[in-house]
């Protein structure tokens, strides 16, 4: 919406104010998120082996290619350089088990980018988180691989048995928290290793520490707000403490937030701009909703982990939350009371 005119060898640009703009661009935000997601990948490669790096690369390349082809087919400008498809690719790989066949992420990428993102209008217009729809699609189509292709991480001391590669949440769900403690020796050993990231699980979800670090950096940069992660993690810890044990108020909140996809989901998926509410009250409620649904699925549902479906379900509430909780106006018109 700019015009240019010539004036004594100058091309003078004319446009509506403001004439200066913040240096933060979509590309800058997206590539910063990509950078924040790299440390967990290094950790995953160290504990699960080189195949997780290959899976992630396949996922990223599939997402970027799908984005280019979708945009070409739909007559939209090609935007693969903005980094958004790269993020989807990384996140899609991060929420699938490390032992799946290499072609799996390709199918997930088509579902995520073509169906979930572009058929719904492209960047900013999709209702559901593309990477999580990709995962949900794979869960439905390859249920065995998606729930059993776990790998025992290197550097993890544990009693070798049939549950060696099972995820902590699976053990807790079916055998109780005591079984988990027994398997790994002590609670403090669990806390330490789960925090660092040495535990069975999906590719990118294991290292609470590195995900937290990346998330805090995004908050520091102002790219995401703390409302969603804090309300989501807080709700999971609180409700697990109340309902997660044999009796009321006996659950272990720390194990709950250090396992499964809580950290990855809270900082990198629930905060996705397009699919989450865009103002603080809505964001707080949205985060709490994800937390509550996660605990409900974990304790009462058919799956040991609920973060993925909890986020997808709350995605559906985003438009409602946005229209219920709007920013407060500076002042109401004369004569009207607030």
């Amino acid at each position: 919406m700019e015009k240019t005119t010539t004036f004594e060898n100058h091309l003078l640009t004319v446009s509506v104010s403001p004439h200066i703009k913040s240096p933060v661009t979509v590309e800058k935000i997206m590539w910063t998120v990509v950078a924040c997601l790299i440390p967990p990948l290094i950790m995953a490669t160290a504990i699960f082996g080189i195949r997780v790096l290959i899976i992630t690369l396949i996922s990223v390349i599939s997402c970027v290619l799908t984005e280019a082809i979708s945009e070409k087919a739909l007559g939209r400008p090609i935007t693969i350089k903005d980094g958004s498809a790269v993020i989807t690719g990384i996140l899609l790989a991060y929420v699938i088990p490390p032992g799946v066949p290499y072609y799996l992420p390709i199918l997930g990428a088509v579902m995520a980018i073509f169906v979930t993102k572009h058929l719904f209008g492209g960047l900013g217009a999709n209702i559901f988180n593309p990477a999580l729809i990709g995962r949900a699609f794979l869960m439905a189509t390859f249920p065995v691989a998606m729930t059993s292709a776990w790998i025992v991480p290197k550097y993890l001391k544990h009693s070798a048995d049939a549950l060696s590669s099972a995820t902590p949440l699976f053990i807790v769900k079916h055998y109780g928290i005591q079984a988990l403690i027994q398997k790994y020796g002590s609670l403090s050993y669990i806390y330490k290793n789960f925090f660092v990231g040495i535990r069975p699980g999906c590719i990118g979800e294991t290292s609470a520490f590195l995900l937290l670090l990346g998330g805090l950096y995004l908050i520091y940069k102002g790219y995401i707000k703390w409302y969603i992660p804090v309300s989501m993690i807080g709700t999971i810890a609180f409700l697990t403490w109340i309902f997660g044990g044999e009796h009321l108020f006996e659950g272990n909140p720390l194990v709950a937030i250090l396992s499964g996809g809580v950290m990855l989901g809270a900082f990198f998926m629930a905060t996705d701009y397009a699919t989450s509410p865009n103002y603080k009250t809505g964001q707080l409620i949205y985060g709490a909703g994800i937390g509550a649904l996660t605990v409900l699925i974990r304790l009462k549902g058919g799956y040991p982990e609920g973060v993925c479906y909890a986020i997808l379900l709350m995605n559906g509430f985003t438009p409602a939350l946005d229209s219920w909780f709007k920013p407060e106006r500076f002042a109401p018109p004369k004569g009207e009371k607030k």
Binding site: L12, H19, I20, Y279, A331, K334
Partner: protein, 438 residues
């Protein structure tokens, strides 16, 4: 000084200040131009009728145009000379407006203004002097000052002088406060006398410590009988917006679509206050104005005192011309100013700055779809939803944008500044305002 600086609460941004080009440059008087174009429509209000004919001799300070009816302010000859033409000139905002061109008489002696003691003058006489001097709000809006200073009886208890100057680059009010603090304080006393009140504040952003110091000293030494205080404000844009300034200084919130006197306040700009002083004490009308010329696109940035009607291209010549990198010329500040495509326009009473910006100073981004980041919701000081307005305008649903507060928007530009997709949100909002109904 207070420990925590006062500020408005909701929204706001921190653009680069870029005041370093001119903030330490003393106000410099430009030699008189050989011709001036006095626009008969300089700002908001009615167009003036020319009171002179071609070839008439005029003296500096003569009223040469006045409004017949409706809101407005008279205009004066800013130099002594001969009326060369009555025609049209370029207006930075309104494209082309009627104007009077005066050719200066190089032989004419400099006009002397004698000072008088104003203390015995009646309120009516004070207002009359302000009216005859053609004073309007010099911050940009150009509302006639004599009208603003005649609020309904008993409605106003507080005067706020706006020294925030929150727009990047601009340093006019800053220099006026540093160099003429006593005159400004005297002007404040005149305004308080007209309003029949005692309480006055001078709000100054904390990035002008020298102005805060000079104004505080002048207030301390000269404000006997009045209750005037200097209030340092947090550096945050748009601190100098009327509603935000009133909230920052007094905690009162002007209702939507309301005016400052709805909460008992009148706000005056620093330059206007100085002009009020000159009109009352020296009987001097608005014939000149201090304007910031800045940006990397001009050879010599300056705070220049220029005659009203001086053509900007003459000023550019005086300042050594433009640099080859010049890409955009903006009248006013970079956040709310207007881009122009020519330098043939004259200085008006409301010109606070002319910026010569190079490619590295402006943005030339292509805009993208809204990614729903919510940055604009955080930034909007009025609590509006610029994101939704933009999406609705793109979808052609202009009439439905009222629900998002489009008419409460004063176009400060915070939303468009923070938008990572570089969406022209202010432009969308202006388009919406043309079609939507209140």
């Amino acid at each position: 000084m207070e420990k925590t600086l006062r500020t408005f609460k909701k929204g706001g941004i921190h653009p680069p200040e870029r005041k370093e080009y001119t903030e330490d440059l003393p106000i410099e008087e430009m030699p008189l131009p050989s011709e001036v174009d006095i626009l008969l429509l300089q700002h908001f209000g009615a167009t003036c009728k020319a009171l002179v004919k071609k070839k008439d001799e005029v003296q500096e300070g003569d009223i040469i145009g006045d409004v017949e009816k409706g809101l407005g302010a008279c205009v004066h000859a800013s130099v002594t000379g001969t009326v060369k033409a009555i025609g049209e000139s370029v207006h930075p905002l309104m494209v082309s407006v009627p104007s009077i061109t005066i050719e200066r008489d190089p032989e004419a002696e400099e006009k002397q203004y004698k000072s008088v003691d104003w203390h015995g003058l009646s309120k009516e006489e004070l207002l009359n002097r302000i009216k005859r001097a053609g004073i309007v709000g010099m911050g940009g809006a150009g509302f006639p000052t004599h009208v603003k200073l005649s609020p309904p009886e008993g409605k106003v208890d507080t005067l706020i002088i706006n020294g925030a100057e929150c727009e990047p680059y601009l340093t006019v009010d800053h220099r006026l406060m540093v160099e003429h603090p006593k005159e400004i304080v005297e002007g404040i006393k005149i305004i308080l006398t007209i309003l029949g009140i005692k309480k006055g504040y001078v709000g100054i952003e904390a990035n002008k410590p020298d102005a805060i110091e000079e104004m505080s000293r002048a207030v301390k030494e000269n404000s006997k009988g009045f209750d005037i205080s200097v209030v340092p404000l947090k550096v945050k844009y748009p601190q100098g917006s009327e509603k935000q300034l009133i909230e920052a200084v007094t905690g009162r919130k002007v209702p939507a679509f309301g005016l400052p006197f709805d909460v008992g306040v009148i706000v005056q700009n620093i330059g206007t206050t100085k002009a009020i002083y000159e009109s009352v004490v020296f009987n001097k009308p608005v014939v000149d104005k201090v304007v910031t010329f800045s940006g990397k696109g001009i050879v010599r940035p300056a705070n220049l005192k220029v005659r009203i009607g001086t053509r900007v291209k003459d000023i550019v010549d005086y300042l050594g011309g433009t640099t080859p990198e010049l890409r955009k010329v903006v009248v006013g500040g970079p956040m709310m100013g207007f881009a122009v495509s020519t330098l043939d326009f004259p200085i008006t009473k409301t010109t606070s700055g002319v910026l010569f910006l190079t490619e590295e100073e402006i943005d030339l981004y292509e805009y993208k779809p809204c990614i729903r980041c919510g940055f604009c919701l955080e930034a909007c000081p009025m609590g509006l939803q610029p994101n939704e307005i933009g999406i609705y305008v793109e979808a052609g649903k202009l009439e439905e944008t009222t629900q998002f507060g489009v008419f409460e928007c004063f176009e400060c530009g915070c939303c468009a500044y923070v938008c990572p997709s570089k969406r022209p949100l202010v432009q969308f909002i202006r388009i919406a305002k043309m079609k939507a109904k209140r």
